[in-house]
């Protein structure tokens, strides 16, 4: 590495270290970290005390071996790599990691783009490893209760990170290939390269290829699938995970070095174009968004005005159209599956003996899926960026702003979660799953309110409203999981009692109002 690369790397690590130092020396930040870590540790301990999950894991393993086969695991992980390649082709590649500050400070510096990429990438890996370590630490009680060995589990987590990083690089490679082709050719036929890239990523994961153990040498997704199978014992060849680990860890530096060699001025250019006049939205998206002037709305209510402003602002983002597209297509498929129940795509069959044991897992999946979908709510304030101060100084009541954000979050989260619930209803049928699925409604109501509350607190803790501090960003799922578990506990306690129909709505309303009141309070206390 040249001196500049080391200086850039030192700088990135210093920033990371300073960030940590500032976090642990700021009482509010430290409190959030403590709540997040200790809270998750406690939840994990309580879940571990409630029961031993060893038998569940064994049964799930048996069930998986009975319902799917080895090639499906490899093909499924192959899909992850395939989507990385396709996503990278249409995305911004490694430049997605760059920030506006990088543009103004780093890009004009006498350093090559690959040097900046290296420094930023190493920082990214250090951060990820740190988070993975913390995550493993807080779920240790659950790990011990399930009789899982921490070292193989840690190894599996590391392999997972490496696999995901390889996919990130595959996306980077396909991005660079597109950039180079765009520079040299104008014909639309150049995009046919994507077909070749996709085939190259996916063909080695097809059942006809993966029938031989040697196939794990072909592509990283096969290697990772092989490691999972050998470590869990499901579909294991009995050869041990080492071959897969070697293949995966050989693949990592290869794709890493390919990307580093590819990184050139386009790395900067792609990011800088984002801040220029020309966006990279698709023609369809422009057509869909139309020329809507929301300021001419007949609604004069501030709440509706903020709601419409946010809705149309979001619509002007290229990705937003695809969200609605996903909702329509996803709903159509979910309805088709649930009404027609096609024989060629059977649901997962849960062994009779496991029907009750699978209920907690089902509920956990429900909570996690709703949590993932509710990230939109967190972004409702984050997306305002510096404009949040403008909004706050507008002649609107803080409560109107918060309510508008909450209502739009509800719409967004619901649109994301409903198709998933449709799939879940079809594929994962456990005892009482039809009734359990109705719990999505209170979960969406609560999680959206948590997202709005956490988002509203970001400018209280930092001068960068568009950059949620790590403890807040992680506090969001921690709070949600805690509230989700509480909701399930209420359900379990009053399951046989008619009072549940009073207690559950009262609990949800109280929590939602409490969270929105906190959000309003946060909005009033900006620095």
């Amino acid at each position: 590495m040249t001196a500049n690369t080391i200086s850039l790397l030192e700088n990135e690590i210093r920033m990371l270290f300073n960030h940590l130092k500032r976090t642990i020396t700021t009482p509010s930040m430290l409190l959030f970290y403590a709540i997040m870590l200790v809270g998750t540790y406690l939840v994990s301990s309580i879940i571990a005390i409630l029961g031993s999950y060893e038998q569940l894991f064994v049964s799930v393993a048996t069930m998986l071996e009975a319902t799917i086969d080895r090639s499906m695991v490899m093909s499924a992980l192959g899909l992850v790599s395939l989507s990385a390649v396709i996503g990278g082709y249409f995305g911004r590649g490694p430049s997605v990691e760059l920030t506006e500050t990088d543009e103004y400070i780093m890009m004009p510096m006498p350093a090559r783009p690959y040097q900046l990429f290296l420094a930023k990438y190493i920082r990214r890996i250090l951060r990820k490893l740190g988070f993975a370590f913390l995550a493993l630490l807080v779920v240790l009680p659950l790990v011990f209760s399930s009789n899982l060995l921490p070292i193989p589990l840690g190894g599996l987590i590391v392999c997972f990170i490496v696999f995901m990083e390889i996919n990130y690089f595959l996306g980077g490679i396909s991005f660079q290939i597109r950039s180079r082709l765009d520079r040299r050719f104008k014909t639309p036929f150049r995009h046919f390269i994507l077909l070749f890239l996709a085939l190259a990523a996916y063909i080695p994961t097809l059942p006809q290829v993966t029938v031989h153990p040697i196939s794990s040498l072909l592509v990283p997704s096969n290697a990772f699938a092989y490691i999972i199978m050998e470590l869990t014992g499901i579909f294991a060849y009995g050869l041990g995970p080492l071959i897969g680990v070697i293949c995966l860890f050989l693949g990592y530096p290869i794709v890493f070095l390919v990307v580093v060699n590819f990184v050139d001025q386009d790395y900067y250019e792609r990011f800088a174009l984002k801040t220029s006049n020309e966006g990279d939205e698709s023609r369809i998206s422009r057509m869909v968004r139309g020329e809507v002037d929301f300021s001419e709305s007949r609604f004069n209510d501030p709440l509706m005005w903020v709601f419409l402003k946010d809705f149309w602002s979001k619509m002007r983002k290229p990705f937003q159209f695809w969200k609605y597209f996903y909702f329509c297509i996803g709903m159509a498929i979910a309805l088709y599956l649930n009404i027609v129940r096609p024989t060629w795509l059977p649901p997962l069959i849960i062994p009779h003996g496991l029907s009750y044991a699978a209920v907690p897992a089902f509920l956990l999946v429900l909570i996690l899926l709703t949590q993932v979908a509710s990230v939109n709510a967190l972004l409702s304030f984050v997306d305002e960026k510096e404009n949040i101060y403008l909004l706050k100084s507008s002649p609107f009541k803080a409560s109107d702003i918060v309510l508008a954000k909450y209502l739009l979050s509800l719409v967004e989260v619901t649109l994301t979660v409903v198709p998933i619930v449709g799939f879940l209803a079809y594929f994962m049928r456990v005892e009482g799953s039809f009734y359990l699925l109705t719990l999505v409604a209170p979960l969406v109501l609560i999680f959206s309110a948590t997202g709005v509350m956490v988002g509203a607190y970001i400018p209280v803790f930092t001068n960068e409203p568009s950059d949620p501090p790590v403890p807040l960003a992680f506090g969001f799922p921690a709070i949600n999981i805690g509230l989700g578990v509480l909701l399930m506990a209420i359900l379990a306690t009053y399951a046989e009692n008619i009072q549940l129909v009073q207690i559950m709505p009262a609990f949800v309303v109280m929590v939602v109002l409490g969270l929105l009141a906190l959000a309003t309070f946060a909005l009033r206390s900006y620095k």
Binding site: A3, N4, S7, L8, E10, N11, R14, M15, L16, N18, H19, R22, E100, T101, E103, Y104, I105, M107, P108, M109, P110, A111, R112, Q265, Y268, E269, A272, L273, S276, N277, E278, T462, N463, E464
Partner: protein, 307 residues
Amino acid sequence: MNSVKSIVERMDSDELIRLARQLNVSLTERKMKRGLLVETIQGELEEYYREGIPWKKTRLSDLAIQISGLTKKFGKTVAVRGLNLAVRPGQIVGLVGPNGAGKTTTLRILAGIIRPTEGTVQVNGFDMNVHPLKAKQRLGYIPERPTCYPNLKVREYLTFIAKIYRVPPIDATLRMKEYVDLFQLNGLLNAYIGTLSKGNLQRTLLVGIFVRPPPYILALDEPIYGLDPRGAWNLKLLLKKLRDEGSAILVSTHILEVAEGICDRFIIMNEGDVVGKGTLEELLEQTPNAHTIEEIFLELTGGIPDA
């Protein structure tokens, strides 16, 4: 050499010790009188700069900034069309124009952030596309919206910049002290950048440029932004001094009083095109109805509005 000696005299104890360590001055005494340490350091510096202060000998290329036939398109939008511009050492050129005229795009291309669609950009004789590192080595760029890494301390940022631009540590320490004093950042060296006000952030970015040795080729996008009257006054004075010492400066600004006060020549842009260029006198000749820089600007960018 006298200026270097006076910088040392202004240093506090920590700064003196840091400089003494960089100069390998033996610090074995438990206590040392400040005067003695200053004298020792000054002696060492005299030895260090025995052959003269290196940057005093540096000269810029005759065309410090040369932009030829520059066109930048974003899709179908033409941000800059056929721009030709040259800045020689000892000149301050003002790039003025209304919002969306293409000034910031021009500076971003000059700084090597984005590539031109057509045309070339040379900094100190080096083509930005062919020799980007050599071109960037000499260029100092201040963006339109000052921003920096919030988790770095001011001192850390300045040291980092000095390292990246390969400024010898002793020179960097002296220059840092000189410009930290000038821009009144003394009390903020150990503050996190994320806690600075916009004005102090702008000062920090400016000191980051001046940590590097002169002569400079500067591309400043609204440099007065956020500075208080004293800071703005100091900067204007400094830019004139640097120009007289042989630096080449391109300033993009909306503030016509600033442009008039410091610029030798003007390039007036409107919707990506150059609509006027020359000294104030030349521009007055080109626009007979105008009597001030403000009127010239209005005349060339859509006409002077009726009262």
